[in-house]
């Protein structure tokens, strides 16, 4: 277990290191730099050039990267080249919105998907199973931007029941802001998750140990709760980790449509404005989150079913 943790940690450090270099190289490949982004009709090329010098963008790339690494190691994500504010603030602000959205989505998705999955699994190939499968499959086949456009048109513009955008809204005062974005994200996530839970349930139901427990007189309810569910949860937890990853990392479409100032928007903005420290910082935070989520999922699975392989 300790060896495993050490190995995982070493891999994570390596991943983060390689990732940072990669992100730096990738973004350096882009034409133009942050100073160019400031160019307007009112700023002369000379002004832009001296701005570039002020931002330190005239230094060689290696030097800038070294500087950045040094800062990060001392716990400082640097300052944005565009706004001049600390990157940490930008990361915090965007993570906040994304986190709220992710948590709200999962809070709806998990109970629904688990209930549906177990329902489908215990009635494998029955009418209910097929009906739910068809519905979730159909929902998951609609691209989220199509759902979003339609939901907004119907519920906000036509009926006027729900706010169509986060602009001008205060999340604390009006949590209804979350309804449409979560609704858009619901279809696919519920589908994926419930199908994993269903498969897990079916596998567990057919497993020798469940058959044997039943033969030794364990009643059905208890069988489902104590024998089937923990084993069925394993694929579900893995899928949940993937869903968490996706939600945290890139629901750009939803963010764009509902004007949610989240992670994906910040990342794409950062790339578009060549605000390297921001891109680096966001990627770093996201990668750490992904690593932590996956580690957590593995640990949970190992806790649920101790035999399950820790390292692939």
């Amino acid at each position: 277990m300790r060896a495993y943790a050490a190995q995982r940690a070493a891999l994570a450090v390596l991943q983060l290191a390689v990732l940072s270099v990669l992100v730096f190289v990738l973004t350096s490949l882009l034409p133009g730099d942050a100073a160019d982004m400031r160019f307007t009709e009112t700023l002369t090329p000379e002004q832009v050039a001296s701005l570039r010098a002020q931002l330190g963008l005239d230094q060689p790339a290696i030097e800038r990267f070294g500087h950045w690494v040094g800062n990060v190691l001392s716990g400082d994500l640097g300052t944005s080249l565009i706004s001049g504010g600390p990157v940490l603030d930008i990361v915090k602000a965007s993570v906040g919105a994304t986190l709220v959205l992710t948590i709200a989505t999962l809070a709806v998705v998990v109970p629904v998907a688990v209930a549906l999955g177990i329902l489908m699994g215990t009635r494998e190939n029955g009418r209910l199973d097929r009906t739910i499968t068809s519905i979730t499959l159909a929902l998951s086949a609609i691209p989220d931007f199509v759902i979003a456009v339609v939901l907004v048109a119907v519920f906000s513009l036509k009926l006027g029941w729900l706010p169509a955008t986060w602009v001008g809204g205060d999340l604390l005062a009006s949590p209804v802001l979350l309804v449409l974005p979560v609704g858009v994200l619901l279809g696919r996530t519920v589908c994926l998750l419930s199908r994993q839970v269903r498969a897990g349930t079916i596998n567990a139901l057919h497993a020798d140990y469940v058959v044997q427990a039943r033969r030794l007189g364990v009643p059905r309810r208890r069988l489902l709760l104590r024998h089937v569910l923990p084993n069925a949860a394993v694929p579900g937890v893995q899928e949940l980790a993937r869903t968490g990853d996706t939600l945290l990392g890139g629901v750009l479409v939803v963010e764009a449509i509902f004007a949610i100032p989240g992670f994906a928007t910040a990342l794409v903005d950062g790339v578009e404005t060549r605000d390297l420290p921001v891109v680096q910082g966001l990627t770093l935070v996201l990668a750490v989150a992904a690593l932590v989520i996956n580690l957590g999922a593995d640990l949970v699975c190992n806790r649920l079913v101790p035999r399950s392989e820790l390292l692939r």
Binding site: Y209, R215, L216, P219, H227, N231, P306
Partner: protein, 525 residues
């Protein structure tokens, strides 16, 4: 539902009474007019070839049946009617009255639960407020300390897991224990321990229903024997109704004087990052001779065979064949490849599920002997027929063949190469007596034509009969080597002595049962 107290039953009444049990699945009849009884403190054995309906009959005791199977007749357990002419009744005898141990009990343990939790759960369900777990553990010969109870199933060895499953069954304090093929895959020593455990349980008043095609085991344990064939009872009574094993016509090796055909010197093998599995094994096989290899489970027999076959590449030492060094399979010439063949222990896994068996068998002749497809197929069909596998059966994909049929097909696949050395790894485990007879007969014939055999088996009697030379392996080393008759009658090493003595289960004279402490404890932490 009224349940008679255990003591109310007159001792003259059977615990289980099955009368005219029939099971049908659509048009096919799985079991017909089966009747038998199980008595408290006694062992009733259901024997019969594979597919004869043993499991189907036994599951009826729980009122269970396979998918789309219809039960009829009458099954009464401990005074409750479990099955009547309308099929299973409402009666619930599971666990509390009848505990069923499936064929591979290892996989019947929930990987997600500590074994203690599993046992306590059953205790609470069936005997709330009573402390029955320690008793069950003792009967299953498991330590009952907290540490053991807090472990997960995967932290036990295969043999231990079997005993945990037994302990679970015993925690229910059933009146009847049903055991489905409990001896498959056990070496003779472990099997002997099982006999002891079961005797003790019967002695405590448990009624046992034993399903097995291991006739020696049945002979050793059963008070009543019911012989099934194609779903019908063909005989019942005491152990005298058991069919006698066919006499094996054994011819011993001819070419005593010739050069050794296959020779291994100082063979050591290891798996990545582990202790060596084989240590400095020497052996040689003469043309037309048979080398028997025996040993406890996990002693390294298969590894030895795979080294010789060139499949296990991490070994030290030298293997020579026909006077020349024999490299690993990848580097063998086509001729060497053809002349040394191997039959897998795990046959099921060695066939491609998607192609008909006969095609896969015939491929050997095509690739190694240059036959054209049609010729090869004819040859394959002929060899399979000699082994008792019809062309119709062989034309199916492997998943639709029985274990025994597939085992013979694997043998045929190797034989089609006309090898000079044939390495057989447990090739009769899934065969009934008739099938074993066919296989032995064919191999004897080849032997006479000069083919050398390496024969690995748990069945000491069989090996002693067919081998010219016997190798006993223990923990990767050669424990003993010599003429089978000598080894069997005057074993010089401790392992051999115990293997030989234990192998006499069910044969007369009944063996004394020497169990050293290491047998039950060796696999514990």
């Amino acid at each position: 539902m009224k349940k008679p107290e255990a003591g109310q039953l007159a001792p003259s009444e059977p615990l289980v009474r099955v009368r005219g049990l029939a099971a049908t699945a659509g048009p096919s009849i799985l079991v017909d007019q089966v009747s038998f009884e199980v008595w408290a403190g006694q062992v009733t054995a259901l024997v019969g070839a594979s597919g004869s309906g043993k499991t189907t009959s036994a599951l009826a005791l729980l009122g269970e049946h396979g998918d789309r199977v219809v039960l009829r007749g009458s099954v009464e357990v401990d005074g409750e009617v479990v099955v009547d002419d309308d099929g299973p009744t409402e009666a619930d005898v599971r666990g509390r009255v009848v505990a069923y141990m499936p064929q591979h009990p290892g996989s019947a343990l929930n990987p997600a639960r500590r074994i203690g939790a599993g046992l306590r759960e059953l205790e609470k369900l069936h005997h709330p407020g009573r402390d029955v777990v320690p008793e069950a553990l003792r009967a299953a010969q498991l330590p009952g300390d907290r540490k053991t109870l807090r472990r997960f199933p995967h932290q036990f060895s295969g043999g231990q897991r079997q005993r945990i499953a037994l302990a679970q069954a015993l925690t229910c304090r059933p009146r009847v224990l049903v055991l489905d093929e409990p001896s498959t895959g056990l070496d003779s020593i472990t099997r002997l321990q099982l006999v002891g455990e079961l005797r003790e349980l019967a002695g405590e008043g448990l009624g046992i229903l034993l399903l097995s095609h291991d006739l020696d085991l049945v002979r050793a344990l059963a008070h009543h024997v019911v012989v099934l064939d194609a779903g019908q009872v063909v005989a019942s009574g005491g152990s005298e109704v058991l069919p006698a094993g066919p006499e094996l016509r054994v011819v011993h090796g001819s070419g005593r004087s010739a050069q050794p055909l296959l020779q291994a010197t100082k063979l050591s093998a290891r798996v990545r990052g582990q202790e060596p599995i084989l240590r400095e094994v020497d052996l040689s096989v003469l043309p037309g001779a048979c080398l028997g290899v025996v040993g406890r489970s996990g002693s390294g027999k298969t590894t030895l065979a795979r080294c010789l076959a060139g499949l296990h590449e991490r070994y030290a030492g030298e293997i020579t064949f026909d006077g020349k060094v024999l490299p690993v399979l990848r580097k063998r010439t086509a001729e060497q490849n053809r002349r040394v063949q191997y039959v897998w222990q795990e046959v099921r896994g060695s066939f491609d599920e998607r192609r008909p068996v006969v095609d896969q068998v015939a491929r050997t002749a095509e690739r190694l002997r240059g036959f054209r497809p049609l010729e090869a197929r004819d040859e394959a069909v002929a060899v399979l027929a000699r082994l008792g596998v019809s062309a119709m059966v062989a034309a199916r994909p492997p998943s639709r063949l029985s274990g025994g049929e597939l085992q013979r097909a694997a043998l045929a696949r190797a034989l089609l190469a006309e090898p000079d050395v044939l390495i057989c790894d447990e090739i009769t485990t899934a065969l009934d007596e008739h099938g074993t007879g066919l296989v032995v007969e064919l191999l004897q014939e080849l032997k006479q034509q000069g083919t050398a055999l390496v024969w690995i088996s748990h069945d000491l009697g069989l090996v002693a009969a067919v081998a010219d030379d016997l190798l006993v392996i223990d923990a990767g080393r050669i424990a003993e080597q010599g003429h089978p008759a000598t080894v069997m009658s005057q074993p010089s090493s401790e392992v051999t002595r115990r293997l030989v003595r234990a192998a006499r289960v069910g044969q007369d004279p009944p063996p004394p049962v020497p169990t050293t402490s290491s047998d039950t404890r060796s696999n514990l932490l």
